[in-house]
């Protein structure tokens, strides 16, 4: 194991986060605060409690997931796309590093950043609403699993993308809608008839539901199912990455 290489890449990735503090940390905090003002205070004051939880507190896990998903994807996809774009990837490809080491370093870096971000959002939320975390172990477990899974997903997008437009396409057209429709701001029990069933095809529902359970002990679908689905996504991403590395797809043409 070339641990020095893993560390070198990881450090560069973290350094970039701190170099672009405004973009990577402050802007999500501001947008989260805006969600609280709009949904939590303005609209939330007119909405009754959901499952016995005040609306402002109810949306916290969903908001964290929203940022976690989008930031994991954008961190990881950018981290691998950028060297591809400027050409400096030659150095990574010519270095004595294995694919596993590349993955650990890049995905580790991206996941670390989005986990830090999730925790910052949690701290910001605590200023607005009273929070409680009933299952801290599972809260952390869901946080880490989701960050890793979606960083892997972002890594795949970064390798697949040939243009900056493609890089933005998947997050914009698929991930953001799925997240908004995945119960960040409502319980799926509130949906009318058929939509309750349709929404179960949205993978993000399981992530948010499980995550919310770790906070308040209340879930839309059972926790076991949530955990199982998260692991399935993780397995799918690992399989795709393994295929990419086996074939050299868009890396070593």
């Amino acid at each position: 194991m070339n641990l020095r290489a893993v560390w070198a890449i990881y450090r560069v990735e973290m350094a970039r986060a701190f170099r672009t503090v405004l973009q990577s940390i402050i802007s999500p905090v501001i947008s989260t605060s805006l969600y609280f003002v709009v949904f939590g205070s303005a609209i939330g004051s007119r909405i009754n409690e959901i499952d016995g939880i005040a609306y402002g507190a109810f949306i916290v896990p969903g908001l964290m997931m929203l940022s976690l998903l989008t930031q994991s994807i954008s961190n990881a996809s950018f981290a691998i796309y950028f060297p591809k774009f400027v050409g400096s990837i030659y150095e990574l490809l010519s270095a004595p590093v294995s694919y596993l080491e590349i993955i650990i370093a890049y995905v580790g870096g991206a996941a670390t950043k989005s986990i830090m971000l999730g925790l910052i959002i949690l701290a910001t939320a605590a200023l607005f609403v009273p929070l409680r975390i009933e299952h801290p172990f599972w809260m952390i477990a869901f946080l880490v699993l989701t960050a890793v899974t979606f960083s892997l997903f972002g890594f795949i997008i970064g390798i697949w993308a040939k243009t900056f437009e493609q890089l933005q396409l998947v997050p914009l057209l698929i991930v953001t809608p799925l997240t908004f429709l995945g119960g960040s701001f409502y319980s799926i029990h509130m949906l009318p008839g058929i939509w309750k069933t349709i929404t179960l095809f949205n993978p993000v529902v399981y992530l948010i539901s499980g995550f919310r359970w770790s906070f308040y002990g209340k879930a839309d679908v059972s926790v076991g199912v949530s955990l199982g689905m998260t692991l399935v996504f993780l397995a799918i991403c690992i399989a795709i990455v393994a295929w990419i590395f086996k074939t050299g797809y868009r890396l070593r043409n």
Partner: protein
């Protein structure tokens, strides 16, 4: 002397169907400076990229110091430093950070003194805290070299090292290459500037359309394929060549003031003496005379012309 890089039967066909390398067999000797010459698109960069692990080959095998580049890629790659043709650096990193990053990437323990020495040798020490984006083109080129040398490679690939580089930097770079060779580093450079190969290389390989068409010691190559030319400055312009001189390969310049005689200097009877006698007989007088060996460039051009 055993070879440090051994390439056998390597081919590369891109997904588009383009056959970049037909079948390359090449051995690079330990400690030599090898120049790979070829026109644009001949396959130089593809060949280097395969040895360095950037491009997957279609078939064949490559070993670096006995390590197979696929089975034993860690050992093989850690011996190699690569300076690619394009200036591709993370623009927002400082010189110091990016060179240390390269060293870490190749699994070497941190060594501040060594990295400092590399930067000083390349006149980059004063710029160590500058971001790459603020450097001039020549400085960026030095930085790419510093990155390649940061992990103490035994083999250095320089892909078109002096393309778009000013004279001073070119001289510096040649001096650096010679220093590295003295330390036992094997150097492979690709170029389409023949003067570069002529000035530095021990051996020359010529690649064209994905095939190695010749590998030869530079001196032998120049001796074997070199032609010699004798130029005569005439006292009075000549309207046409007299019939008596038609057996010589002579060329008369447009204004009639200059005669050029091209001959094979390996031949026992190059014909120089008889030509001068015959000129005298024909009453043609000359003011001055000089001879020169053909340059590697001329040899190269004539080689490529012979190719079907």
């Amino acid at each position: 002397m055993s070879s440090i890089i051994s390439i056998s039967g390597v081919t590369k066909t891109y997904a588009t169907g383009f056959k970049a390398l037909k079948e390359i067999n090449l051995d690079i000797e330990r400690g030599e400076i090898f120049a790979l010459l070829g026109p644009n698109g001949a396959g130089k960069t593809t060949l280097i990229s395969i040895v360095c692990g950037i491009v997957n080959r279609s078939s064949g095998s490559v070993t670096v110091d006995g390590h197979d580049i696929s089975r034993d890629y860690r050992a093989a790659r850690s011996l190699i430093g690569l300076v690619p043709q394009e200036l591709t650096i993370d623009a927002f990193e400082t010189v110091w950070a990016t060179v240390n990053y390269s060293r870490g990437l190749f699994g070497k323990p941190p060594n501040k003194d060594f990295v400092e020495k590399v930067l000083r040798d390349l006149s980059l020490w004063e710029k160590k805290d500058s971001k790459a984006i603020t450097l001039s083109g020549g400085m960026k080129r030095r930085l790419m070299i510093a990155k390649a040398l940061s992990h103490e490679p035994r083999v250095l690939f320089l892909d078109e090292p002096t393309a778009g580089v000013d004279v001073e930097l070119r001289q510096d770079m040649w001096a650096m290459v010679r220093r590295l060779r003295e330390d036992g580093v094997t150097i492979i450079l690709t170029t389409h500037y023949i003067e570069e190969a002529e000035a530095m290389a021990d051996r020359v390989g010529v690649i064209n359309k994905g095939e190695i068409i010749l590998v030869e010691g530079k001196a032998e190559l120049m001796r074997k394929l070199g032609r010699k030319q004798m130029r005569l400055e005439l006292r009075a312009p000549l309207a046409a060549l007299p019939e008596s001189l038609s057996r010589y390969a002579l060329e008369l310049s447009g204004d009639g003031n200059q005669l050029t005689y091209t001959y094979d200097n390996q031949s026992d009877r190059p014909g120089v003496a008889s030509l001068i006698r015959d000129l005298e007989t024909a009453g043609i007088q000359f003011r001055d005379l000089d001879t020169k060996n053909s340059s590697l460039e001329e040899i190269f051009v004539s080689l490529l012309r012979q190719e079907p």
